[in-house]
C-alpha cells in the first residue's frame, strides 16, 4: 500500500516514445522512491492544449477535458487527478474552474458527455505533480531519499508560465516563484535565485508557428542562465523543456552562438539525487546531454 495514490494524467507529450518520454521515465522513478502510486486514467484524451482554441472553440475544449474527469471519477473514485504536463494541468484545471463556477456550462458539458454515456460530477480535484510534491509530501520528504546530493551543480530554475500563472503553486508569487530553487537546494544543488528569466515565456506553441519570435524568447532564457554560470536549466513543463532544449541548435545555426545548456525536468534531478541510474532518470532522453548529472548518476 503506497503512501499516496493518484489518478495519473500523463498527456500526449509525456506518453511513451513521445517528446517528453524522458519526463515520464524520471517521474516514474521519482515516484517509486517517494512511494507515490500513479494509476493512469483509463483511455484519457488530449487536453486540447493552449493552442486548441482556434479550431476547437470553448465548449468542445471543456468537453474533452471533462471526459477525462468523468473517466477518473468513474474508474478511480476519490483519487485526485495528477498531471505532469503544465499545459494538461492548466487545461484541465481551467475547465474544472469554469464548469464548477458556471452551472450553464456544466449543464451543456454533461449534455455533451452523455453522448458517450459519461458524466462529470464535479468531484475530482486537478493537481500538478509539483503540487503533490510540495503540498502532500513537503520539502523534507523530498529531501529524505537523497543519496547523491547534486553538489556544486549550478542550476537555473526555469519555472516558465503555465505551472505559475494564472493559478500557480499555492504560496508562490507569479513574478518570483521559489519552489524550483527549493527543490534544487534540498537536492544539494546550487540554485540561481536571481535568474531574471525564471518566469519568462518560451513562446509556447508558437515555437512552431512563429519560430523567429519564440527563438528570441528562448535565446534570452538560455543567455540569462549562462550569465549566472548555470550548468543546466531545470523546468516543470514539457513544452518549456522541449522548446528551450530543442531550439538551441537552431539558434546557434542562425546566430553563430554556441549554446549547449542541458534542460532537464525536476523529476530527473530527483531521480539522480535519489541514486537511480542515468537511464532510469531519463538522461538518455536528452538532446543536449547533461554530463554533470550523468557523472553523479554513474558515481
Amino acid at each position: 500500500m503506497a503512501k499516496k495514490e493518484y489518478a495519473f494524467y500523463p498527456g500526449c507529450s509525456s506518453q511513451a516514445k513521445s517528446s517528453a518520454a524522458n519526463y515520464l521515465t524520471s517521474v516514474n522513478t521519482m515516484c517509486d522512491k517517494l512511494d507515490i502510486k500513479l494509476t493512469e486514467i483509463p483511455d484519457w484524451n488530449c487536453c486540447g492544449a493552449s493552442i486548441g482554441y482556434a479550431e476547437g472553440g470553448e465548449l468542445p475544449r471543456l468537453a474533452i477535458n471533462a471526459r477525462n474527469f468523468a473517466l477518473a471519477e468513474q474508474h478511480l473514485p476519490g483519487k485526485d487527478i495528477v498531471a505532469t504536463c503544465a499545459a494538461c494541468w492548466l487545461g484541465a484545471r481551467e475547465t474544472k474552474e469554469r464548469l464548477d463556477h458556471t452551472s450553464q456550462l456544466m449543464k451543456e458539458t454533461n449534455e455533451a458527455l452523455a453522448a458517450a454515456g459519461l458524466k462529470y460530477e464535479g468531484k475530482v480535484n486537478i493537481r500538478h505533480m509539483v503540487e503533490v510534491l510540495i503540498e502532500d509530501l513537503g520539502y523534507d520528504a523530498i529531501k529524505a531519499p537523497v543519496v547523491k546530493p547534486l553538489e556544486g551543480l549550478k542550476i537555473a530554475g526555469y519555472v516558465g508560465c503555465q505551472t505559475n500563472r494564472p493559478f500557480g503553486i499555492d504560496g508562490e508569487s507569479f513574478e518570483n516563484p521559489k519552489y524550483l530553487d527549493k527543490f534544487i537546494e534540498v537536492l544539494g544543488g546550487e540554485p540561481i535565485e536571481k535568474y531574471e528569466q525564471k518566469v519568462a515565456c518560451c513562446g509556447g506553441a508558437l515555437a512552431f508557428s512563429e519560430p523567429e519570435k519564440s527563438q528570441k524568447q528562448i535565446r534570452d532564457i538560455v543567455e540569462s542562465a549562462l550569465d549566472h554560470q548555470a550548468e543546466l536549466i531545470v523546468t516543470p513543463c514539457p513544452l518549456c523543456q522541449a522548446n528551450v532544449e530543442v531550439y538551441q541548435s537552431e539558434i546557434n545555426r542562425k546566430n553563430g552562438t554556441k549554446f549547449a545548456v542541458p534542460v532537464v525536468y525536476y523529476s530527473q534531478l530527483m531521480a539522480v539525487a535519489y541514486g537511480s541510474s542515468a537511464k532510469d532518470a531519463g538522461l538518455n532522453g536528452q538532446l543536449i546531454r547533461t554530463e554533470a548529472l550523468e557523472k553523479i548518476a554513474n558515481r
Binding site: I51, F174, G204, A205, S249
Partner: protein, 207 residues
C-alpha cells in the same frame, strides 16, 4: 463561412460590443477594461503585434469590427497568462484573445495563412483524429502546410533535431502508422460533435 459573417453583421448591426459579449469566449468581460495598459506591457510578444489587448477592447467598444476581427494581434498569444494575473480588473484577457481568434476564424475573416491560425487548425484536427496528439504527423503536417517546397526546406533545417528526437526516444517514426489513440474513439467523437452542436446553437451559428 463568410455567410456566417454577413449574417452576424446583419444581426448585430453596429453593436460590435454586444456581438462580442454574446459570441466570444468570456467576451462579456470586455466592457470592464479601464484602459490601464498593463496587459500591453506584459505580453512577451508585445513588440510583434499591432494592437495591444487593451486597445483591442477599446476598438471593440468603438465598433471597429472589421479591424479587430481581421487583426493578427490575438494570434500572437502564447498563453503565458501574464496579462491575466496583472489585470487590475481581472479580465481573463488570454481567454478573450483566444475567443476573438476563434470567432474570427469561425467567421472565416481571420488573416489568411496566419501561421498560428494554420498550426492551431492542424493541431486540433490532429488531436481529434485519434483523441491524442500524434506529434510526428503534427510536425510534418505543419511543416508541409505551405506546400512541399518550403516544407522540405524546413524539414531539412529541422532534420537534425528530428533525428535527435528519434535517437533520444522522444519521436517515434512508427507513429506515422497510427500511433497513440483513445480506445473509445466513437464516444470521444460523439462528445465533440455534441459539444460543437450546442455551442453553435448557443452562439447563433446554426439557426
Amino acid at each position: 463561412m463568410s455567410d456566417l459573417n454577413t449574417q452576424a453583421v446583419a444581426r448585430y448591426k453596429n453593436n460590435f460590443l454586444r456581438e462580442v459579449e454574446e459570441r466570444v469566449e468570456e467576451g462579456d468581460m470586455v466592457k470592464m477594461c479601464m484602459q490601464c495598459g498593463v496587459c500591453a506591457g506584459s505580453c512577451p510578444l508585445g513588440p510583434h503585434w499591432q494592437h495591444s489587448p487593451q486597445k483591442i477592447f477599446m476598438m471593440i467598444r468603438a465598433g471597429k469590427r472589421e479591424e479587430v476581427l481581421t487583426s493578427d494581434s490575438m494570434w500572437m498569444c502564447t498563453s503565458c497568462y501574464n496579462c491575466i494575473v496583472r489585470c487590475p480588473r481581472q479580465l481573463p484577457i488570454t481567454h478573450i484573445m483566444h475567443g476573438l481568434a476563434n470567432y474570427a476564424h469561425r467567421l472565416g475573416i481571420a488573416p489568411k495563412g496566419q501561421p498560428t491560425r494554420e498550426f492551431a487548425k492542424t493541431f486540433w484536427n490532429n488531436l481529434i483524429k485519434k483523441g491524442r496528439v500524434n506529434e510526428l504527423t503534427l510536425t510534418l503536417a505543419h511543416y508541409f502546410a505551405n506546400g512541399i517546397g518550403p516544407g522540405i526546406q524546413i524539414a531539412l533545417n529541422m532534420q537534425k533535431i528530428g533525428l535527435g528526437m528519434v535517437l533520444a526516444g522522444r519521436l517515434n517514426p512508427m507513429e506515422i502508422f497510427g500511433g497513440h489513440s483513445v480506445k473509445d474513439l466513437n464516444g470521444f467523437h460523439a462528445v465533440l460533435a455534441k459539444a460543437k452542436e450546442i455551442e453553435d446553437r448557443k452562439k447563433g451559428f446554426s439557426a
